[in-house]
Amino acid sequence: MKQYVLRRVVLAIPTLILVSIIVFAMMRLMPGDVATRMVEGHAYAPTLDALRKDLGLDRPVHVQYLEWIGNITLHGDFGRSYWTRQPIWDEFARRFPVTLELALLTILVSVVIGVAVGIVSAVRQDSAADYVGRILAIVALSVPYFGLAVLVVVLPSIYFRWTPVWTYTPLSVDPLTNLKIMLVPALVFGVTRAGPIMRIMRSALLDVLRQEYIRTAWSKGLAERTIVLRHALKNALIPVISLIGLQMPLYIGGSVIIEAIFRLPGVGLFFFEALGKLDYPVVQSVNLIIAAMVVGLNLVVDLSYAFLDPRIRYR
């Protein structure tokens, strides 16, 4: 087990190096130029050359890359924004709780809805409830989350004079107000993400319910409730967990749009604003940090299988 973890961690290193090269090369080789924009639109420096020299953009590309990646690995320094000159890590750390809270609430909503509907659908297969559940899953899969978010922002304010709360309050300041603010975005995002979970929950549970140990449980005279929740669910949850793990990048990517619509000051909004200003170091570092998180999460998900299914052994 220890060896398996170690090998996975070591294997992640070349992937992360490649990731860093991809983001860096992307920012430097593609047409947009941050210096031109900073000088022409905002007069950050008297001339283009002066600004380039100031930002270190006049040096060879490989030197710039090594400096960026060297500072990260040796000093944990992710650089500073070109525009605000603020350290990127501080800003990231300040905003991360917002994004994390949104992601966790979203996952909670989608899992609660998805698993509940999936169980009912599977246990009462081919009943009216099953059909309603399956139709719900298809609808959830079809409605784009940003479309639903726009409708939720616009329609109630016209017809019910209700609007989402626009001023953000951190969880540490006022938990109740904070939850009120986060609940609507998390519901909108979670409901649309529940579709795939409902489907996989249903098919996994149907699969497990036909296995022999479940028949044994029935013949022992256990109640249906015990059989489904105690015996079947644990095994049927494995594909659900792996689906959530696989979809983690989608939750993070989607949070950019959700944060932009609901004006939540999270990492997504930070990233989106930096993109608009072609703020190279911010885009690079945020991309890298998030990619590292995704790689780490995949590892955690893989390891959680062993906990859920003792038959799985790692070598």
Binding site: P14, T15, L16, L18, V19, I22, V23, M26, M27, M30, P31, G32, I138, V139, L141, S142, V143, P144, F146, G147, L148, V150, L151, V153, V154, L155, S157, I158, I200, S203, P249, L250, I252, G253, G254, V256, I257, A260, I261, F271, F272, L275, G276, L278, V283, V286, N287, I290, A291, V294, V295
Partner: protein
Amino acid sequence: MATTPASIALPDVAAARAARPRPWYVDVWVQMVRRKPLGTVGALIVVVMLAAAVLADVIAPYGFAQTSLRERFISMNASHWLGTDQLGRDLLTRLIYGARVSLYVGFGAVALGSVLATLIGVLSAYFGGRLDLLLQRGVDAWMAFPPLLLLMSIMSLLGPSALNITLVLGAAFGIQNSRVVRAVALAIKEYTWIESTRALGSGHLRITVGHILPNVMPTIIVVATTGLSTVILTEASLSFLGLGVPPPYPTWGGMLSLAGLDHMYQAPWLAIWPAVALSLAVFGFNMLGDALRDLLDPRLKGS
């Protein structure tokens, strides 16, 4: 009853016709209508979308960029079935042309991506070894990014345009799905008849293009059809953020957009109809893709 030679011959022809197996690409649609009602509905939606896209110039009541400042924010009426937007442009017209953009980008990206996925997947599987290792680490690195973040980064550097977004979505689609193609090609490569063709003196080109490719084809078709809805949705989310197809050309994502949010409080139909159109399109492609997958490649069921 007099038996003429013709009436004797007739049943034979019918029997022969029935005995001859239908080619698979016809059979798939027959099976679809018989066994997959949702898939059939999906196919119908896709056909309607295709018709709207192709015939947009004929059926759209107005021009897509035709503004009329005296007719801003009109709600549904006889001359503007779905109302007008902040510049007095007809919403129905823009939805119809939006179908064209969605399909242009969707089909373009998926076609490009399928070729790329096949190329990477088959090469990686067939040659294996160092090439495989190299290509797969690249794919690993690409997959470590949340797709939307990566696409947003690339699009904001390249600048929004229909061609750019098609190329970028195509590349992303190709790299992501090369995994599936590789897995299938790996399995096919191990069959004995591939070994036999090699023994008969076939070269690499003949084996890959002549033997492996035709057998990977059903998988590629499945990947492409199930992927269409994702690509259309991704295009819409990028256009929503202003990083997709630039105005004045209408896209469903762009019509819903963040920038136009303020106008929607005055005219909620501006939010409702593009969202409905997009949902219907995604629904249609999803159902069609699912049904095709079940009929063409049962191995991928549930994936």
